[in-house]
Symmetry: C2
Subunit: 314 residues, 2 copies
């Protein structure tokens, strides 16, 4: 462990979860705050499901499924029974995963906020990192497609991200307020990391809250972003296709451009080292390191690389 | 099968479910309507659980658990995970059972009524009997105890029916309206059966709706009640202790007194044959037959006994 910098991570789902899991091996978990996207949340048969928060919690607790979703080695008895009843099961939830959604929904029904329910889940799973939803208010990501506006999971899971998109919108953004602790965590940390998450549907929803965007701009922290695009492809998820469709460069450089006014340092993977000069030409510091988070050691190595590049490790 | 009388059953949980299961072996299911108690319903981590309706549906579908609750041979993976999270698990729900509550809750969230959601569940399980909640409105049974007012499941399951009760109340009764089809099913049937259910917390909540009570009184059907008390004990559940505590005779005669103004014929078990004259002295017809519903054949035999006693079988 190093002398602990206070680290805040703007987080989507799996990429952020893995980065955070590496980070908590290097920095005390109590010094880390994750500000999580809620744009992907869905109502599943009346239960509140928060896929990004859950990926973060499960991964930090070390119980995440092999592909980053749900709980490791989970069964699907309830889902199979639902299917037998003719219920819609395109969003697959395992039995142990389901307990999380019941736990959360029960607390929300008792007038707890999503922040409070999330904190209770983190305590129950022994997660030391502070995990915050960016807002306790409704703040869905809406994907615009030729088939009309779709909720994120409808686009991503039900339609396998196979419908061409024409845009992304955040209709809740004008009224959603940052959850308690979010603005302070962004302003008062030493290191603010934009996780290697989808810029358009994981990070953009966070910044769509004007107060969050302002807090990032005003933060005195060292501000670092990790590229979710490596060698022109996304490590996970639909980021590459979305970037292309919406007219962005499908490259680390394309992502760096999107963040240029918000950050100080952009971290690329070594395979993209030739893009460093172009990123620097945007007025950013840039460094190419190993960003592949394979296994616990890989995740820790990436966290160390980022801390080192940002000046928090010798 | 006999020439089909239209049969309506005022139903609680397990006793009613077993009687209905016998009945559908003798009368075409399409000729049978169950009007079900909803006073025991609960909100379980945000899901709507209807224990009486579910006991009826599961038993009619032939998938009920060995003790009458839940689904046969069900697993409890989600419940175990909930317990590990520190969630309250005094109301135990299995994984396949949970699918029912998700299916129902999802439909209620889409603005379906409980009647509609129940009909969808019956279709999904191939149940031919028409299963109606007595009302689509909130209509909880409240148990008054020295510890204060308790929701039914809080009293019955969480506290194991071990708290002395001082009364039962139905605060929703003044405003709850009978669900579509309920009054017609009671008025327009040939045989109206009061199932061998708890008079105080299964049948009383049905009759607590003034329109239901009036429909029973005005019905031209042959009106029959089966005693849930056999040899001075309840076949299942807390009926005996409740009757005693609230000053009723814990006997078939005590139950007959409660129904005397509503029915034509009271059916006792043969072990209570000596009570027949006392029941007749109440102005009721009375007959003692085998009412023990052990196994599918036992259930069918009881249904045949009731149909015969009521004059619908030669």
């Amino acid at each position: 462990m190093v002398e602990a910098p206070r680290v805040t991570v703007l987080a989507g789902g799996i990429g952020a979860a893995r980065f955070l899991a590496g980070l908590q091996r290097v920095v005390p978990p109590e010094s880390i705050t994750a500000v999580c996207n809620v744009g992907d949340d869905l109502d599943w048969f009346g239960l509140k499901v928060c896929p990004d928060i859950d990926s973060v919690l499960y991964t930090l607790a070390g119980v995440e499924g092999a592909d980053g979703w749900g709980v490791r080695d989970d069964t699907r008895h309830t889902l199979e029974s639902l299917r037998a009843l003719g219920g819609e099961t395109w969003f697959g939830i395992g039995d142990a995963d389901l307990a999380t959604h019941l736990f959360r929904t029960g607390r929300l029904r008792q007038e707890e906020t999503l922040s409070e329910a999330t904190a209770a889940l983190a305590r129950a799973r022994g997660v030391g990192v502070t995990v915050l939803p960016v807002t306790d208010d409704p703040h869905p990501t809406v994907v615009r497609t030729a088939d009309g506006d779709l909720a994120f999971q409808d686009y991503f899971v039900r339609r396998h991200a196979a419908v061409p998109i024409t845009g992304v919108s955040f209709p809740g953004a004008p009224t959603a307020r940052p959850a308690p602790g979010v603005l302070a965590a962004i302003r008062d940390c030493d290191l603010l990391c934009v996780a290697p998450s989808n810029p358009l549907v994981s990070i953009a929803p966070l910044l769509a809250l004007a107060e969050v965007d302002a807090a990032v701009r005003e933060s005195r922290a060292r501000r670092v972003a990790l590229s979710p695009i490596v060698g022109g492809a996304a490590i996970k998820g639909p980021a590459a296709a979305m970037l292309a469709t919406l007219g962005h460069d499908v490259s680390a450089l394309g992502v760096a451009r999107m963040y240029a006014s918000l950050i100080d340092l952009f971290v690329l993977d070594t395979v993209d080292a030739e893009l460093v000069p172009a990123v620097r030409a945007l007025g950013l510091e840039a460094v190419a390191v190993d960003t592949m988070m394979v296994g616990a050691e890989g995740r820790e190595r990436v966290a160390r690389n980022v801390l080192y590049a940002a000046g928090f490790l010798d």
